[in-house]
Amino acid sequence: MQIKADQQLDCKGLACPMPIVKTKKAMNEVEDGQILEVQATDKGSIADLKAWSESVGHQYLGTIQEDGVLLHYIRKSSHDTGEEKTFEKTITNDEVIDRVSKGGIILDVREEAEYAFGHIEGSKSIPMGELENRLDELNKDQEIYVICRTGTRSDLAARKLSDKGFTKVYNVLPGMASWQGKISRING
């Protein structure tokens, strides 16, 4: 499966420390919230990229292996936790499975790569940036439970849906970052 990234960085054949040195530089060119795919062959890069990402506050999403090449996915920190959430209709993580079993869908508005490395089974993926152009994939008569990592992007998405005439929209809080239930993910 192809995972979508905003930028790619070729570190194949490079030994430690170069994958991290180059990733650090490349990350400066990536916009907040965007995904960088790092292609590497050094096995040590898995643990190091993860630890480095955590130390500088980026979101390490995961790694898959393709034809002997490690593909690491990192999302640039977007500091999106602090902003105020204004969409009024909300439900909690704990409620959503029960609610959706009675009808409606869970709409995950995180980036595709974030979704690939861990999402609620059966949820639909439309990244926030694509929502406007993909509204026709959604049904106005259905309940739509919008979720993201921390509730900020889903707040924005819920407001956008509401503006477009969707009435049965809820923001799921606190979001995937503290999701305790089952998740599905791409094979790593």
Partner: protein, 375 residues
Amino acid sequence: MTINKMTAAQVARKVIEKQPLFILDVRNTDAYEDWKIEGQNFEYLNIPYFELLDGVDEILPKLPSNQDVLVVCAKEGSSKMIAEMLSDAGRDVFYLEGGMKSWSSYLEPIKVGDLTGGGELYQFVRLGKGCLSYMVISEGEAAVIDAVRFTDIFTNFAKEKNAEIKYVFDTHLHADHISGGRHIAEATGATYYLPPKDADEVVFEYMPLEDDVTVKVGASQIEVGALYSPGHTIGSTSFIVDSKYLLTGDILFIDSIGRPDLAGLAEDWVGDLRETLYHRYRELAEDLIVLPAHFMIIQELNEDGTVAKRLGDLFAQNHGLNIESEEEFRHTVTDNLPPQPNAYQQIRQVNMGKVTPDQDEQIEMEIGPNRCAVR
């Protein structure tokens, strides 16, 4: 300022001679906490290299100027980069050639003692992993016991000593490191012995190593005799060399005893372990010098770097030999066991000959401490 490299052999001398050394370990914190270069007079600072990419100024005050500073990483690249940055900042430092990878594979051969008729017994101390291998040499012949996977070290050492390797033994099917035994035997034409009870699933030819099997090395007939001593594995066998040394494999260590769970049968084998340690070994001469297949902590090294102690002293001092109640013994060796060694199940498969990983995969499997004991 200059940057210099330090070899694993040089670090080994510092460990054995208890010299001071300041180690700046730039690996991940997890990797460092799991496993590092141990020395009794070593000091440490662990900061991952990726936290120093913007500069090393913040750590300069933490580095001593009156002793050697060694920068260490997994494979060398990052330690070299950090050493260069420190050098640019005006500090003289070393980096470890080949990183932890070479430390894990370095063996220091140390003579344990003389044998009857001019023979010699050597212990190969793998400081980075705590593995101990042995070579008995007598008048042009040699026997190797519990060889680790660096077969050249043993074959070259025998060559230097003008000895032909005639016998190769593994005290048991190892789970913490990849054995070199079978490959040494193949390369030299020696006979390879393995306990049949550990060898159910092995896919190669071997001679059964059973109770009372003896071989004689060299013209002066140094005797290497097998003593069935199950408990770490069901086949675990000890050796008595020249009526003087007791090679205990992973059954009895200097400051701990073998764990019975690595082949998955702790409950079944705890009784065997107790029988071996509390009865079979008790019948042996207390003046035998115990030579185990591992050490766990650096304090177990003697002044000359060997790991060896009188059996009688172990009966007096080793906690694992002094648990009176069987119930408490059972509890000690089956509950609260330390984490199992890295990739131990895969390593067993390799030692059975079922899988043949490449060099890099072998290194990967053996990363980390050995963890074969319970204290």
